[in-house]
């Protein structure tokens, strides 16, 4: 009995990792460009374009305001079209990415806003193109902050992934729901919660340590 539960927890942890890491990565691949677009098209941005800014901002806010559980159900046909199924870990990645990308875009935007405008101005004065400013100034200068944002995004996505357990998602969330909630096995529920706490701790601390390590502004 215990062997079975332990085996379940190990595979559940693996699945959770898989879902969250892959979703975070894809969300960043999509969210970074989106965040950059919002930042540079802002009225004080280097490539001001209020039309694009308004549209992208609106879409981001729209998706962000839908509660995750509703979004999860609402896009089931979309998920099926992409993965071929709506249950299991891989299928959960789709709604996770859809929900997390706008969130990541806002995090990226906030990180870029932390870069001193004077540095951007200096880069412009040196004759940089906008693309050079983005790739060689904005993103590298915001790197530590982007990394801190990533740990926050990871934690949020981890929380979403647990919710997906209610509607056929995999991982620790599904175990907590199936064993802890439906079968009243409180021990299993608490164990999954403990596992989630540990994962969050590892990533949060690891991210912060890495961020301060790559940040050259801090005197050592």
């Amino acid at each position: 009995m215990y062997d079975k539960i332990i085996g379940l927890l190990i595979s559940g942890t693996g699945e959770t990792f898989y879902m969250v890491v892959v979703s975070t990565l894809i969300s960043y691949i999509l969210g970074i460009p989106l965040g950059i677009v919002v930042y540079v098209t802002d009225k004080n941005g280097i490539s001001k374009n209020s039309f694009v800014n308004k549209i992208v901002g609106l879409v981001i806010n729209l998706v962000r305001s839908i509660p995750f559980l509703i979004l999860l159900v609402a896009i089931l046909p979309f998920t099926r079209a992409i993965v071929g199924t709506t249950i299991g870990s891989s299928a959960t990645i789709v709604p996770l990415v859809v929900a997390a990308t706008p969130f990541v875009a806002r995090m990226v935007e906030a990180s870029l806003k932390e870069v001193d405008h004077g540095v951007v101005e200096a880069a412009q004065a040196m004759g940089s193109t906008n693309l050079q400013i983005i790739c060689k100034v904005l993103v590298p200068e915001a790197r530590p902050s982007l990394l801190v944002g990533m740990t926050i995004a990871f934690t949020t996505i981890l929380g979403y992934s647990a919710m997906a357990g209610f509607v056929g998602g995999g991982g620790l969330g599904a175990i907590a729901v199936n064993y802890g909630y439906y079968r009243y096995q409180t021990g299993v529920m608490l164990t999954t919660v403990a596992m989630l706490v540990i994962i969050v701790q590892i990533f949060q601390e690891g991210g912060l340590i890495l961020a301060s390590k790559i940040d050259k502004r801090i005197k050592r």
Partner: protein, 335 residues
């Protein structure tokens, strides 16, 4: 050569229209150090940003040599900017790059090979005397060192012009002096035209050949630094040049004579001569003089003596080529 023709820059905010530059006409010659001085909010920074089009003028024309920047295409403008270095009050170094990579940045973006760029950066570090700081990050440098790196970075692409926007305003007096000496050295050695924006008279005094005095977006007067210093005509220039001009408490409340030293020998005991030779008792109201390499710069304010004594003093000072000016205080409207 930089030429501004009728340059106007208007900022529109929700409830106000601010004219930061108002039909400014300026010509800055090759190889000179040109100062633009004025109090905060005079529009100096906006004006210098119009020179490399960081701020696009609302109207008017900006020329760098024969190129009209205000009409140049995007590519041509970027090229022109690579010909104009710029340094800032807050240094604006890339915090996540070390010193040598900061200096390499402008070379990197103009497609210079990495090896060549590092070679050039090392030469520049030698020029600004920071050879031992190559691998150090900006956060570990002092203000003066940061500005040296910024200067090296601005010079990397061999620009013809260096724009300095309050470049010494965040530095202490000694560091300011050193940075100004470095700028002067660069001007002499490399022939780079330098435009200096400042609110400090001593900056202009120390390095500029010519100066424009700016207030409320307009150039109130311009000319050689010594001329403006000797004979400030505009109200802003007088405020800047006269001691206490910036601080009304220190301005004399009685009529006085202003004696201006502008590079005459500091070995001549002018003041003692007036007292001993002419036998006139003098009362000093204020003074601000400096001895730079055996030459006296600055001014001395003395209480205006009796009329015939004033004539004697004027005669004596004029005979040794020192300018003196009578200042009558308007009792109705204190200066």
């Amino acid at each position: 050569m930089i030429r501004l023709v009728d340059v106007t820059k208007v900022f529109k905010t929700k409830d106000a229209v601010i004219t930061a530059a108002d039909k400014v006409n300026l010509t800055i010659e090759d190889g000179e150090i040109f100062g633009i001085i004025g109090f905060s909010g005079a529009g100096k920074s906006t004006l210098v940003r119009c020179m490399n089009l960081l701020e696009r003028p609302s109207s008017g024309e900006v020329y760098l040599d024969d190129i009209q920047l205000t009409k140049a295409g995007h590519k041509k403008l970027l090229e022109a900017r690579r010909n104009m270095g710029m340094i800032f009050q807050q240094f604006n170094l890339l915090e996540q790059r070390n010193v040598i990579d900061n200096i390499c940045y402008p070379l990197e973006i103009s497609g210079v090979g990495k090896k060549e760029a590092i070679q050039r950066a090392k030469e520049l570090l030698k020029l600004v005397e920071l050879e031992d700081k190559q691998k150090v990050y900006p956060s570990q440098l002092s203000g003066g060192q940061k500005q040296r790196v910024a200067i090296a970075r601005a010079l990397a692409t061999n620009p013809k012009v260096l724009l300095c926007d309050e470049a010494t305003s965040a530095l202490d007096p000694l560091t300011t002096k050193n940075i100004l000496e470095l700028l002067k050295h660069i001007n002499k050695k490399l022939g780079v035209t330098i435009v200096v924006i400042t609110h400090e008279l001593k900056v202009v005094e120390q390095i500029c050949d010519r100066v424009a005095v700016m207030s409320q977006g307009r150039i109130e007067e311009q000319g050689r630094v010594d001329e403006i210093f000797l004979n400030p005509k505009s109200q802003t220039a007088r405020k800047l040049v006269l001691p206490g001009g910036t601080d009304p408490i220190n301005a004399p409340t009685r009529d006085y004579l202003r004696i201006v030293f502008d590079g005459q020998s500091s070995f001549e005991p002018v003041f003692a001569n007036i007292i001993i030779k002419l036998g006139i008792k003098l009362n000093i109201l204020g003074a601000n003089t400096e001895d730079i390499g055996g030459k006296a710069y600055g001014q001395l304010l003395i209480e205006r003596p009796k009329d015939n004594d004033v004539i004697k003093i004027k005669e004596y000072l004029e005979s040794i080529n020192i300018t003196v000016e009578e200042m009558i205080i308007d009792k109705e409207q204190p200066a």
